[in-house]
Symmetry: D3
Subunit: 175 residues, 6 copies
C-alpha cells in the first residue's frame, strides 16, 4: 500500500488544504504534508510558523505527518520512500499548471505518480492569497481557515509595515 | 488498502486507457475496469466486444478485472465495495466535465472518492473518437491502440454502410 | 428601471435556474422567464410541461412571469420591451459560448444588454442534462430540482422506450 | 516557397473563413480551400453548393483554388503537394480541439506543418452554426456572410420541413 | 431600482472601462466608479491622478460618480448603500478570477450581487497593462484610451528612470 | 516569399524554442530570432549571454539569424522588413495571452501577420521558468535544453546569492 506526500507552501494552511489532506489520508497508508521551506519575500509566515499551524490543524488524523524540504519535490518524495504525490485541483485556474507540474515530475522521476483530488465544492473558491487579502482588509475568514490560523494572520498583518502589505496579490483589483 | 474502479465506455479501449489503468493498478489493491453497457446508437462496438478487447489488452496485469454495468457509476462502485473512482485527465478538453462529474458523484455518494491521474504525454492527444475517425478514413493508428483493436475497428468500418459511418464525430471538420 | 428576460430551454427547470431567476428578480423591475419552444428531438418535456413546472417553481416571486417564444431571443426581448437579457454563468464550461451569444446578440440588437450572474456555489455542478442522466439511471436528485420536477422526470423516463432514453447525453461516459 | 491547404466543411463559408483564407493567401504561394465532402445529416448544403459559394466568394484572390476531399486531411495535403495545413483560431472554444488535431496530423505525417492564424476581431464571434441559427430564426446576417450566402441559407431554410430544422445546434439555448 | 459600484484600480482608465461604465449606467440608477487606492509599487498613477482621469472621461454621464476606497469591496459597497457590484468580462483570461471574486464577495456579504457585462468586441483586447506597455515602448494607443490618458502616460514614462519602467509586465515576452 | 521574426526573451533558449524556430525556418525564407533586450530584474541571463546561447543552438540552420531589440515587436518587424511574426503555442496556458498579443499587434500594424505553430508534444511541458526552477533545485534538464544551456544555468545559480534565487517563480508551490 503506497505512501504519499502532499507538497505546498501552505502560507498559511486553509480549509481546502485540510479537506484534501484528510481525504488523501483515507486513501493512502501514510500522508506527509511537505512544506516547501525556501525563504521568499512574498511569504507571510516562516517555515516554523507554517509547520506549527499544520500540525495543530491535522492533529486528529493519525496517519498524517508534517515535514519541510528545500529540494525538488520528486527528490524529497524519493527520500521519504513515497510513491505518490497528491495535489488538489480547484475548478478555478489550477488545472494547466498542475498538468505541467505532473508531466515535469514524471520526466524527472518516472517511478513517482501524481494523483489529483478535486477540491470539495465549499472550498473551491479558497486560496491562500485570497484569505490573506481578506484578512489584510479587515474581513472575516470564518469557514475558510481554522480559527488559530485566522488569529495568526491578524496578528501578522497588525505587525507589518505598509511595505510588507503591498506584496500580497490583490485578487479584486484586476482591470 | 482501497480498491478502485475505472469507468468508461471504452469504445474501443486505446493506449491512453491502458496507460491509466496500468498506473492505477500500481497504486490500488485491485482495479475493476467498468464498461458502461447501455446501448447507444453512436457506439461502434457491442459491450461484449468492448469487454473482450479490454481483457486481451490488460491480460498481463494481475490485479485488474473487467466488468460491465448499467447504473450510476457510484452505485456500481458501492456494489463492488470500491472506495475510489479513477479517471484519466488529458490536458485537452477534459478537466471541467470531469470536475462536474466528480462533484456530482460526491453529492450522490460522499463516501466514494474520485481520484485523477494525468494522462502520459505520448497519449495526451488520443481519444476514442479520434482513433475511430482515423481508421474510418483509412489512416494508421499504430501506437494509439493495441494491434487487435486496430484490426477490430477496420473490420467494423468495412461492414458499416454509409449511414453508420456518419455518426462518428469528425474532429478535423470544425469550422 | 429596466425589465429583463431570462431565456432558456428549461428542460427541465432546476435549482440553478431558480437561483438565478430569484436573484435577477431582485435587481430588475420585472423578469420574464422565456422558454424557447421549438420542438427538438432531444427535449424530454413539451413546452407546456416546461412552462407549468416553471410557474409552479416561481409562484412565490411576484415580479416573475413565464412566456414561450420561437424566434431570436433579441427579437422576443424587443417585443416584450425588455432592455436586458439575463444569463447565468457556471464556472464549468459556460463562459465562452455565453460570450459568443452575448456578442452575437449585441450585433443583432445593440440596444439590448446581456447581463450575467454567477451561479451560486451549491448549484455550480447542476445542468439539465446531468439531472436527466441521474434520474434515468435511478439516482436521487434531491437538492438539485424541486420535488415536482423530480417526479415529472421519473414519470417521463418510466414511459420512454429504450430508443428515447439513448438520446440523453451521458456525462459520466466520456473517454 | 510552400503551398498550403485550408480544410473545413464550410457549411456555409462565412466572413471569418474568407478573412483567414485571404490572409493565408498573402503568406503562401498557393492556397487550396479543401472542402470535406462526406455527406452527414447535419450539413445544410451539398458539397457542390458549398464549393460554388466558396468559388464565388474567393473569385478575386488569384492564388486560391477550391477542391473537395473524402480522406484524411494529411493524405489530401500530401496528394496536392502541400506542406502546410492552415487553420483559423477564434478566441472562443477552438484552441484545444485544434491542438489535438495538429498533434494527430503531426503523428500521421510528420512532414506536414499545421499553421494557425488568429481570426480577426470583427469575425471572432462568427461560426457556421451561429449564422445558420440566426437565419433559421429570421435574423439578419449582414456582415457575417457574403450576400449570396445569406440568400442561399434563406432559400434552404424556406424549403426545409421542421424535422430538418431541428438538427441545427441552437447556441442560445444552453442551460 | 438598485445602485451599483464598479470597482477597479483604473491605472489608468481605458476605453474598455469607459464602455462598461457607460452601459452599466444605462441599467442602474446610479453607478459609483470605485478606485482602490492602496499604494502599490506597480501602480503608475497616484489615486488622485487616477480619479481625475476618470472624472474627465465620464463627465458626460450624469449618473456616474467617482470615489476611492481602502477596504474590502463589499464593505465599501455596503457603506455606499449599493446592492450591485459591476464587473466587465473580457473573453481573454478574466473569467475564472472574476468567478472566484464573485463567490468570495458573496460569502463575505450574501446581500450584494455581482453582475457582469461582456466587454464590447472592439475593446476585448485592451488591458491597463497592455496600454502601459505600448506607450512605454513608443507605440500609439489611439482608440484604446482617451487622448488625455495617452498624454498622461507619455508624460509619466518620460519621467521614470529605468528601474521604474521594469516593473511593467511585458505581455509580448512570454516564452 | 515572406520573411519572419520569432520574438521572445529566451532566458534561456530551450528545446521548445529550438523546435519552433527550426520548423518556422522550413516554412519561411528567413527567420530572425529576436531577443527582447530590456533589462528586467527577473532575467537570469544578460542579452549578450542569451544571444550567444541561441547562436550556438541554431548554428546548423542557415536561414536563421539572431538579433536583439528594445522596441515594440511590430516596429522591429517592420524595421527588418519581416511580414510575419511567429509564435509557438503550448497547450498549457499560452493561448489567450497570445491571442491578445496577436490582436494588439494587428491593431498596431495591420500589415504584419501573426502565425502560430503548435509546440511538439515532447516539448509541451517545457518553459523557461520551469527549467530554471529545476536547475536551481539541483534537478536534471537533459532533453529540455541543449547541454551548454544546462551548464550556463548551473554556473549562474552557483553564483547567485539567496536573494537572487528567490525571484524565480516556483511552479511547484502554488496552493
Amino acid at each position: 500500500m503506497p505512501t504519499a506526500i502532499y507538497p505546498g507552501t501552505f502560507d498559511p494552511v486553509h480549509n481546502g488544504h485540510i479537506d484534501i489532506a484528510t481525504r488523501a489520508a483515507g486513501i493512502f497508508e501514510h500522508l506527509t504534508m511537505a512544506i516547501y521551506a525556501r525563504p521568499m519575500k512574498s511569504l507571510l509566515f516562516s517555515v516554523e510558523e507554517r509547520k506549527a499551524m499544520i500540525e495543530e490543524a491535522m492533529a486528529g488524523v493519525p496517519n498524517i505527518s508534517v515535514a519541510t524540504y528545500n529540494q525538488l519535490t520528486v527528490d524529497f518524495a524519493r527520500q521519504l520512500g513515497a510513491q505518490v504525490i497528491v495535489r488538489g485541483l480547484r475548478v478555478i485556474s489550477d488545472f494547466e499548471l498542475e498538468f505541467q507540474m505532473a508531466l515535469t515530475n514524471k520526466k524527472l522521476d518516472p517511478g513517482i505518480e501524481v494523483v489529483c483530488l478535486m477540491t470539495s465544492q465549499e472550498y473551491a473558491f479558497i486560496s491562500a492569497s485570497t484569505v490573506k487579502e481578506i484578512v489584510m482588509l479587515g474581513g472575516c475568514v470564518d469557514g475558510m481557515v481554522p480559527p488559530q490560523v485566522a488569529e495568526a494572520m491578524e496578528a501578522k498583518f497588525r505587525g507589518l509595515d505598509s511595505e510588507g502589505q503591498s506584496s500580497v496579490r490583490l485578487v479584486s483589483l484586476r482591470d
